[in-house]
Each structure stands twice: as structure tokens, then as C-alpha cells.
Amino acid sequence: MAPLLEVRNLTVAFDTPAGTVHAVNDVSYSLEEGETLGIVGESGSGKSVHALSMVGLIATPPGRIVSGEVLFNGRDLLALSQRELFEVRGKEIGFVFQDPMTSLNPVLTIERQIAEPLRRHFGMSASQARTRVVELLELVGIPDAARRARQYPHEFSGGMRQRVMIAIGISCNPKLLIADEATTALDVTVQAQILDLVRDLKKKIGTTVIWITHDMGVVAGLADTVQVMYGGRIMERGPVRAVFHDPRNAYTWGLLKSLPHGGRRGVTRLYQIPGNPPDLTKEPIGDPFAPRNPFATERCRIETPPLGEVEGSVAGHKAAAWYDLRAELAATQVQP
């Protein structure tokens, strides 16, 4: 079966006064129906921009899709007109954004906001939409849904608002739900509740999910596949278990090593990846992580490593590296 989403050589740039920012460079991957993909990376890694650019949500100018194809259900989204994209957004691809405090319109009731995609895409009447809104609110675990629907966003707590955002995201039963840092603004207990909710919803409605975050822990608990991005490129990708236990890219390794381990090994200082995030206005040549990578070779600086299957791991585990991280780690006897 053809994958639900197939991104091919997507390259996105922004023309700014400081120069051209190469935000996403030659990103290719595919996503099967029902799969949950976790995309991890620091700020400026291109993880959000690539997702927004797929459905034409970046401002052009300054944004510019340099090249690539985004095949969704066999259709190239990048070749669609604005009008056709309006039909895709919200109906076939739902979004949940980072900050539930600002992602809801403060002067409209919750009901109107959840009903909007329903009325827009399915032409529902106000009363049909109302029934569905209450259903959706109950589905995302908001008690007393009928009454709550008539309230305004400020009457909801952060976690409740994120539930509302998810209800909006799934209102039209989209084939794909893209959550961009959806739990980042929430505190840890609420974050756990939302992740539970998403797992639960996946069981109930079986949506394919792209979960964009900078939190490795969130990905570990939610995703089937993890994809690590840095400097607008995919550094490593594969089944969660394989990537977490056997990282083959130095950036993935650095990220995992900088996670706290709950004091298993007593009081240890957390690892810190040396250096600063890359300057994206430079021409993207070589491995973007090379300047910060203790294992980098001369080749890393001049030639971009391709994303290839790694040896000695499970199928689908791919990494972009010229060096052999496993051998390097064995030599220095540092363990992730």
C-alpha cells in the first residue's frame, strides 16, 4: 500500500535582510497510515517549518519552497492552488499548535471555534454542528460538555484549552493530525494527561499523527517512529526503540545523553552538546552538526552525508553520518 504521506526532497528557504535562511534542506521521508511519527529537534531545526510548508501555512514571501514534492494520498500538496489547499487544511490534515493560550480566538465561544471547520468543510447547520461539538468535547474528555461549549477560551485552563485544540484538530476526522509542540506550554502533569488522551484517541479513531516536539521523553512514550532533525536536515530516523537504544548519529546521541536519568547513576552533571545552533544563513554544505560534533571527520565538513540504512540494526533505522558512532563510542568507552 502506498504511504499516506511521502515527502520528497523538500527544501524551504526564507529570504531575510540578513541573507537567505536555509530552514529545511532536502528532507525526504514517508509515513504509513496509522503510524505515529515523532519529530524531534531543537529550535531552528526546521521541524515546524517543514510541517507548515507542506500545507502552505508559511508566509510567502519571505518563505519560499525551493524544491520538493509532498505526496499526500497520492496528490502533490505543493502543486495545489490556495483554493484546493483550503479544502485540505482542517478537513484532511488537522493541526494542533503549541500555545493553547493564544491559539484560540479570545472573543469567540468554544462552540463556534470547534464548529467552524465542520460548517466550513461539511456545510453543517448550526444545530448539527452543535451536536457534533458536544460529542467532540466529550471525546477529548471535557466534562459537562454542553455547558462548556458556550464558554469562552479564558474560562478554560491550559490543559482544557489544549483538549479543545485537539477537538478542533480532529473535528473533521482528518487522515493526518500534525501536533506542533502541542504539550510544550503545559506543565508536566497536564502534559501526561494530554499524551494519554492522544494515545486513547489514536485507538478510538486511528488517525495518523505527526508529533513535533523537542522533548525526547514525549516521543519515547507516544511515537512508533522517531525522526531527529538538525539544521533543516533529517539526522536519524527509525523505530523508537532502535533509535533510543542504538543511536547512530552524534546529535541523537547528544540529545539522549542530555536527558536526566532520574538519579540512576547518582548525581551526575547532565551532558551538554557543545557549541551553538547552526547559522542557517550559510550555504548548507557538509554535515550541519559537524562543528559541534566531537566525532566529526574532515569529510563531514565538506560533504553532506546521505540518510542511509544503518548496519546491524532493525529495518527502517536510517542515519546520516560519515563516522561510525558505534565504533567511536566503543573506543572512548562512553555510553549513552
Binding site: 487544511r89 499548535f97 491559539s103 484560540l104 480566538n105 479570545p106 469567540l108 479564558h154 485544540m165
Partner: protein
């Protein structure tokens, strides 16, 4: 509707404003049926009669006195309110709709559209308002319709400026991105997402503008470009009575008070409406 009045009863200022506005509107609507003397009939035997409060309901009583041509001032105020209030309301609504929409368009599209609209605003602000009004009335000729157009023309840019600034800030907020993400088109975003967010400032400007427009109307009438005599208008009454202020104070005082009370009541009501329709303040009450 019931909830609206219940909320209104709780606010003294809002209630006062609402009642006063209602009195003015009712008086204006029912003016011909109140049994007042004909406002345009002069009586040279009763010129500049001081206000008399005895025998209030006898014919020939002038509770607010008479003007220099012997016309009853109370009747002229009540009949004048019909024209003044209708013109002011029409101008505020026209200017408000045009200004708010252009402000949203300028703030949302930015770029060339914004630059052109805002330069028009700048140019118009650089011209003295009165000169502009004189030019337009001189070109179109004085009539009630033209007066409304002129007043709206002096008014739209205040909405456009402020609303544009608000929209510039609002369009970067995440809820606009999420509106895009559910497939909302440009018009839907402007009318369903941005417009409700700028209604509060628009309403505040409208209450201030109503007051300014009543006074501007008075000024235009004063210059002879507004309502044409012998039809009564508050501005014209002020203008005509000005000469007699030392001998017959009531000719200017009563229309002046009428303007003052109208402006005050509209401001009170507007303030209350703004609070009432702000969802954040509503639940705190």
C-alpha cells in the same frame, strides 16, 4: 434580551446612559405627536421670551423661552434632535463600517494595500478637517445626504488607523494561524476572526466619534453648510443664538445642554456596552 436588561440594571452609569438615550430617541421619533408648537413658525410679538414655567400646558407657554424670531425653543430642540441624531448616527455608522473594514484590510494584507490606505489617511489628516468639509459640501451642495457623507469622510480614518494597528498585532497571533490551519479563507478570517476582535475598540471610537460628529455638525450648520434654515438643528440654534448671549441666555443654553446630555449619555452607554460585550469582563461580573 432579558439577560441584557438584567445586566443593565446592575450598572448605574449604563442605566442612566441607556435611559437618557432612550428619552432622546423617543422624543425624536414622537416629535410631531407631542403637541408642541410648530418649530418653524415665528411670532414677532413673542421674540426672545424668557423661559416661563407657570401654566406649562397652556398654549403659548414657552418652558425654554423663544428665540429672536419668537420660535419656541423646546419645540426646536425636540424637532432638531430628529435631524441631528439621524445625521450623527448615520455618519457614525457609515464612517465606522468603512473605516473598520479598511483598517482590517490594511492590517491584514499589509504591503502595498496598507501603504496606499495609510498614505491616504496621512494626507487627509494633513488637511484641516473643516476645509475638507467645506470643499466637499461646496462641490456636492448642501443636503442631508451630503452632510452625512462629509461627516463620515472626516470620521473613517480614525477607525482605520486604530483598527489597522490592532489587526497588525492580531494577525501574528497563533489563533489566526490555527484559523488558516482549519482551512479558513481570507474573508472568513477577516470577518469572522479579526472583526469580532476589533469590535471593542471600534465601539469605543464610535462613542467618541458620535460626540465629535454632533459638534462638527453644529459647526457646519454654524457656517451655513449643514441643515438649511428654517429647519431646526442644534448647531444652527447655537450659531444663531450666539449673538444674543448677553441679552437672552436661553437661546444658546438649551441646545447646548441638549448636545451635552446626548454626548454624555452616548458615552456612558458606549462604555457599558464595551464592557458588556467583552467576554473577559462578563464572567468576572
Amino acid at each position: 434580551m432579558k439577560a441584557f436588561f438584567l445586566a443593565l440594571l446592575k450598572s448605574r452609569a449604563g442605566l442612566f446612559g441607556f435611559l437618557l438615550v432612550s428619552v432622546f430617541v423617543l422624543a425624536a421619533a414622537l416629535a410631531p405627536y407631542l403637541g408642541l408648537p410648530v418649530p418653524t413658525r415665528s411670532n414677532l410679538l413673542a421674540r426672545m421670551v424668557a423661559p416661563t414655567w407657570t401654566g406649562l400646558f397652556s398654549p403659548g407657554a414657552h418652558p425654554f423661552g423663544t428665540d429672536e424670531l419668537g420660535r419656541d425653543i423646546l419645540s426646536r430642540i425636540v424637532h432638531g434632535s430628529r435631524i441631528t441624531l439621524a445625521i450623527a448616527a448615520a455618519a457614525v455608522i457609515l464612517g465606522g463600517i468603512v473605516g473598520t473594514l479598511l483598517g482590517i484590510v490594511a492590517g491584514y494584507y499589509r504591503g502595498m494595500v496598507d501603504r496606499v490606505l495609510m498614505r491616504i489617511v496621512d494626507i487627509q489628516l494633513a488637511l484641516p478637517l473643516m476645509l475638507l468639509a467645506l470643499l466637499v459640501v461646496a462641490a456636492l451642495g448642501p443636503s442631508t445626504r451630503n452632510l452625512v457623507i462629509v461627516l463620515a469622510l472626516t470620521s473613517w480614518l480614525r477607525y482605520a488607523r486604530i483598527i489597522r494597528g490592532q489587526v497588525l498585532a492580531l494577525r501574528e497571533r497563533e489563533f489566526i494561524l490555527s484559523a488558516h490551519a482549519i482551512g479558513a479563507g481570507t474573508w472568513r478570517i477577516m470577518l469572522k476572526h479579526l472583526l469580532p476582535n476589533v469590535m471593542t475598540p471600534a465601539l469605543v471610537i464610535a462613542t467618541l466619534e458620535l460626540a465629535r460628529i454632533i459638534i462638527m455638525d453644529a459647526a457646519l450648520s454654524f457656517l451655513g453648510l449643514g441643515v438649511q434654515p428654517p429647519n431646526p438643528s442644534w448647531g444652527r440654534m447655537l450659531a444663531d443664538g450666539r449673538v444674543y448671549i448677553s441679552t437672552a441666555w436661553w437661546i444658546v443654553t438649551f441646545p447646548g445642554i441638549a448636545i451635552l446630555l446626548t454626548v454624555l449619555s452616548v458615552n456612558l452607554l458606549g462604555d457599558w456596552l464595551r464592557d458588556h460585550f467583552d467576554p473577559k469582563l462578563r464572567t468576572m461580573r
